[in-house]
Structure formats: C-alpha cells, structure tokens
Symmetry: C2
Subunit: 411 residues, 2 copies
C-alpha cells in the first residue's frame, strides 16, 4: 500500500519559498532569528498550514508548536519536525525543510484518507539556532527535560531582553507543560549542511550518529593604549589575543584531525579603532567531535592555551560555556526503518553517516527512539543565502520520511 | 624679562577639566570624535575662550580655527596649537593640552601687557584623530597643502555621512582659504602618550623627530558556512584570516625590533556568529617606524603575507591605504630655542626624543620651521580615560611653551 504514496514536490517547494519570503533580505538571506517579529510571522504561517491540514495544535510553555493528526488508536504519536527559526543570514532549507516535508506527508495521507494506527505529530521547536538566546536547540532541550522551562524562560539576550518577554510578545507563550506529549518515535528530515552527500553524488543518508558540540564565549581584558607610542613588549593587547585564539583553534583542529572541527566565528574588539590597542575582546569558540573524549581533550587544550596566553600577554581571560552537548548515537530500529523505506523507493543501499551539525533530534533522542534522514546540500553550503538542495533530492527525502512515518505509526 | 613670566596652572587645569566634561562618559572617557555634536560643543567652548582673550578668530574651509594676537609688527605669526577632537574613548590631555596651554600663554602675556614683535597664533586643527573620517591629521594636512580641501570635504565616513555636510552641520565650514596664514614658526606642546619620560623620571623633552606612519584597511572575503559540518580543509574562513593577520603583525614588529611597532586595533566579522564561518572580515593595520625604509619593508612584508594568506585560504584580500606619512625631522633652530627656554627655567639638559604618535606638527613642518615639546604621560597611557599627566609637568611644559613662543616672536 505505502509504495503508492507520493508527495507533491511543487507544494513542498511552494511552502518553502513562501516561508522563506518572510523578512527575506535583498541578497536572498532568510532572517527569522528566534523570537523576533520575523520568527513570529514564520510561525504564524506554518501554524496556519497546520490548521489547513486539520491538525490539533498545541503550544507548550517554551513555545514549541506541535500539530497532531489522530490515529486509529490513542497511543503515543510518531513525531517528525525540526525548527523554523534561522541564523541572521540563513538559507531556505535549514529547519524549514523538515517541518514542511512533515506537513506535506500529512497532506498526502489526508488526500488518500489513510489513517495510521498511532497518531502522527509534526513539531517545530523554539530557538534551534541559538543566535540571540543560548543555548541553541533550546526548545527541544527543554522538551526532553534537559533544561528547566523556568531557566530557559529567564535566558537573557546580549541586548538585555529576556526570553520570557519575547515569547509573550510574539504570542507563543503556550500553556502546555513541555514534553507532555511523549513520542513513540521521532524522525527528523534535514539537509546535510555539509559536503559529503553532494561530493559523493548520493541522494540520501540515514543519520546514525551526531557529534558532540562545545561552545564558549571568551572575554579578554587587556589595556587600551596608543598604537604608535607603546613599545611592543609593554602591550597587553586584547585584539592580538583574539587573533591568537582564532589561529590556535584552527591549528588545534587541524592537528587533531579526524572528526575534530573548530571555529572562531565571532570577534568583537573594544574600542575597535585603527590606532588604539584593544582593551577588550570577546571571542566565541565552537568545537565539535564525534568522540566525546577527544572533544573534552580539545576543550582542555583550549583551556591550557588561554591560561598561557593570559600569562604571556599580561591580560585576564575568562571563558563561559554557552552550549555543550555530548555526541548522540541514534536508534538502530529507526535507522533500519529509514533504510527499508528508502529501499521500497528504489534506493538499495544508503549511506549511514554522522551529523556535524546539532539538531533537535539529538534532544528528542533522550526521550524516545530517534534517527534522522539527510539529503545533499549543494557544495555543502549552509547558514548562507546560497544554501541549496536540488528539488529531486527534496522530493526523495520527503518521500522516505512519509514512508518511515507510516511504517512506524503502524507498527 | 621672560624669566618672570609664569602660567597659572589652576587656570589651565580648570579649562582642561571643563573641555573634558563635554560629553564625558561615566567611566571618564572623553568622547569628542571629530565633526560630531560633542566636537562642536568642545570647539564652541574653546572659541569662546579665544574671544575672551581678545584674539581675532579665523575659521578656514576645512574647519581649522586660528586665533591671532597682534604683534608690534604685521609679519607672519608664531603659531602654536594642536587639536580638540578625541578618539571614541579618549583622555583629558591628548590635543587639548597643547591648545589650552597656548591660550594660557596668551593670557599671561595679556596680563603683563607684553606685546611681541610678531603676532602670536593659537590654532586647533580639524580631525586629528581620524576616527570617523580618514586620513587622520586631516585639518593640518590640508592646511599644509598635502591634501586638497575639495578632496578632504568629500571624505565619507563608514556610516555614509560626508565630511562637508558634517562640517556645515556643526557650524564650522569657514570661508578662509586653508593655509592662508603662513606661520613664521610652529611649536606644539603635547603629552608624550608613551612611557619614555615617565619611566626615566624626566619632566620634559624637545621632540626632534617623528616616526613614519602607515595605515591600511584590509578586507578579506571568504565563504560563509556551517561551523559544524564544514571540514577544516574545505574552509575559506575570513575570521581565521583576520586572526592570522593580527598574529602576523605582532610577530613582524617583534622580529624587526628597533622602532618598529604594529597594531591590529579593529576587526569586524560578518555575520559574526558563533556557529557560522565568517564570510567577511575587515581588519585595520597600523605600522610605524622612525626609518622610512624599514617602514616600507614592513609594508612589503605585510603585502607578501596577505598574498600568501589569500592563496592558502582560498579567499580574496583587498587592502586600501587609509593613511601614510613619512617620518619627519623637526627644525634644529626651534629645537634649540625650546632647549634654551627650558634652561632659563632651570632644566639644564633636556632629552631630545622621537615621537611615536602622529601630530599636527608633522604637517606644519612642511610649510614652516617646526618642533614639539613633550611632557610625561603617567605609565605611558593614552587614548584611554586613564590618560594622566602630573599638574607639575603640565605647568613646566606650558611655561617652556610660553618662553619659546616669546623668544621666537621677538627674534
């Protein structure tokens, strides 16, 4: 029976484009940073589509939105979903694809009148990107019990705004306790956001593993002084330290090799003037590895380096951890269900791969059997307006998701 | 006769404090960036003091303000002065001290009724710091014919504002052609802004040399991408390049040694997010040396490094020179006059030293005999609210300036 089900790619693409048009920049960037007005507009749009499909919509206290399609029985739902917030200059597909493909799957089932045994749920989780408020993947983390809702609501942004207020302001401070709807299983469809599938010319992967992530914000306090009159040996230059950190993180990741990556994506200097030695620098460090032991070793090396740098340069260096999540092994049964679904659609043997990015699925994995499906990103580009996935791959991923959901909901 | 003349330090300190109070920050920073409202308020205040002293005030087309005290004859005036703009977080003394000490000298001469042979002039030059509009030392550069007034007026700030409009807006678009008043000589009194005099425990120096300065703004364009999924070897990371440049500039200056200094004071990344590889970085480089050949060699090394970095990292790097001034040897006759003045006040032998900072005096040196007087900066701190010079040193410097002006105006 399930083999005959097929999503309609034009509808999925249409909704991706319509959602992406919300507050889109002239350069094509999607700009729906979590808990901004643009995020609210995106959420409202997706919620209206959930309503059109006849889903029962729940909003929990952290603003996660869950649309339920009833099953023949009243058990735990099989859940899919992702997020609809973006980074400040994001692309069309990151997050939105998983949510809208879930809705397209429901749409197909509605059209053929197929009622699964278990209910189906499509969710979008609050603040996956962690741009304004940290940690990232916050909504799903709270959903899975990894962070108390009170703590999450009290989070402050750089601009001083409090998450609780922003959530109320945009109209998404729901009343349902977080995690009240316990999924039977969770499957998330996402673009790879890396080059592996595109480079290999493959259409699809089952994600069996997700690397550990460590973020820290490092504040260096030196002494501001005149750039022309201060001898090199008498400097306490926070800007130089920032530069050394960026250089060290690259060298560390390269030296460790394997799955280790490291990024200094943000540097802010004060007073940030051509002829003034910087008094202060704030630098972020993003470290990831599939091996939690190696990730901890990378963190330790950074710690030693920062201590040495503080001593050598006569500056003070403070580091605050802004996010940390260990690596996650996904559920074998869900992975095999994805592989069977792919096989029914003609993909005999699909790659099992590790995700380099964090995803809401890693949080859901704490409370139910979970796995992910990846489709290629052209040139591996993501978090960028040039993010692109071929429509044929979008369709394949959505069809495998549909098959997987139906099989899990009928088991 | 001149030995009996003496400035009153309370008056000089009072005016330094009053000017410094304009738009002062809670942390004590003076914030009178050139051509802002705060700069206008500072200018208005100093102009009112010039009026109180009976000076004839001229404003030229680039906004330089020159107050003239008539002499017994009508020849070229002996000029002193400096600037009243500050960096974004500046101190009380940089620039302001030279201008207000000049006014205090005039005040003493008015009180004793001493009329010099030549007229005396006290000037403050527009935009010495070069924070919003580049190049720095702009007003004196135009005054000395090193930059056309039209070109200077057309200068654009980062925020898109045009210097001509800002100058009109703050009411300082004068009508006098720049450089119309040709000085007989120029003497500038300034705090050292470095640690030499303070460390040596000396009260005074004659400045005989000023190091060459080279500024460039470097723009690195890489590829924005996901920090977790992009393998290290596939990155084109503008943030990493910014860090490498900061590290290289320090290493270069340290390796060259001698008088070479180098600073990366400003770094701006885009999109500047923890989990996104930076697409773009804008980095400033400030290089200085007393030896123009070595400074050119430092510039050449930076050029080679940037070309290598662009090739290695697969990014494009463009560099624009935002300021460049060769080293300047000051006039021996003026230096000796300063030394004689110091000797009359009991300072038998004062140090001759090189200035590490740029000063308006280096521009005036193009059109008349010029030298400078330095007093100590405590701990060498400058461009910082902690900038401080002991009142006793402020008084000594101002008295030597007074003596020097009188001797030059009577020769």
């Amino acid at each position: 029976m399930e083999q005959t089900l097929a999503i309609k790619i034009e509808r999925l693409q249409g909704q991706l484009t319509e959602l992406g048009a919300v507050n889109r920049a002239p350069d094509g960037s999607c700009r729906r940073v979590a808990l901004t007005d643009a995020d609210a507009m995106g959420r409202d749009l997706v919620r209206s589509w959930m309503r059109d499909l006849g889903l029962t919509i729940h909003i929990d206290r952290i603003g996660n939105v869950i649309g339920i399609r009833g099953g023949q029985s009243e058990g735990r739902p099989v859940m899919t979903g992702s997020h609809v917030d973006t980074v400040a200059t994001g692309g069309l597909y990151d997050g939105a694809y998983g949510v809208l493909a879930g809705l397209e799957a429901i749409r197909v089932l509605n059209e053929v009148g197929l009622k699964t045994q278990r209910p189906l749920a499509v969710a979008f989780f609050t603040n996956e990107e962690g741009v304004r408020f940290q940690p990232d993947m916050m909504g799903s983390l709270v959903y899975a019990g990894g962070l108390s809702v009170e703590e999450a609501l009290a989070t402050k942004a750089e601009d001083g705004s409090v998450l609780r207020d922003e959530l109320s302001r945009i109209g998404y401070a729901g009343t349902m306790p977080c995690g009240e709807i316990q999924p039977h299983a969770y499957v998330e469809l996402h673009i790879e956001q890396g080059p592996v599938l595109h480079t290999a010319g493959e259409a699809l992967a089952a994600v069996d593993f997700l690397q550990g992530i460590s973020w820290q914000k490092v504040t260096i306090t030196g002494v501001s002084n005149h750039a022309g009159t201060t001898p090199m040996r008498l400097r306490h230059d926070a800007g130089y330290c920032a530069g050394q950190i960026a250089a060290f993180v690259r060298a560390l990741a390269t030296r460790m090799g394997g799955a280790q990556v490291g990024t200094v994506g943000s540097i802010q200097l004060q007073p940030n003037l051509v002829n003034v030695i910087a008094r202060k620098a704030i630098v972020t460090i993003d470290l990831r590895n599939t091996n939690d032991g190696l990730l901890a070793e990378a963190e330790r090396e950074v710690r030693v380096f920062l201590a040495d740098l503080a001593r050598t340069e006569g500056v003070t260096i403070e580091s605050v951890r802004t996010a940390q999540s260990p690596s996650v092994a996904f559920d074998v049964h869900i992975i095999e269900t994805i592989e069977r679904s792919a096989k029914r659609l003609g993909y005999k043997s699909i790659r099992r791969m590790t995700s380099g990015a964090g995803h809401d699925a890693q949080m859901l994995a704490r409370i139910c059997p979970t796995a992910m499906i990846f489709v290629p990103s052209v040139d591996g580009v993501s978090h960028n307006p040039r993010e692109f996935t071929e429509p044929v791959h979008l369709a394949i991923g959505a069809n495998v998701l549909l098959q997987t959901l139906v099989e899990l909901a009928n088991e």
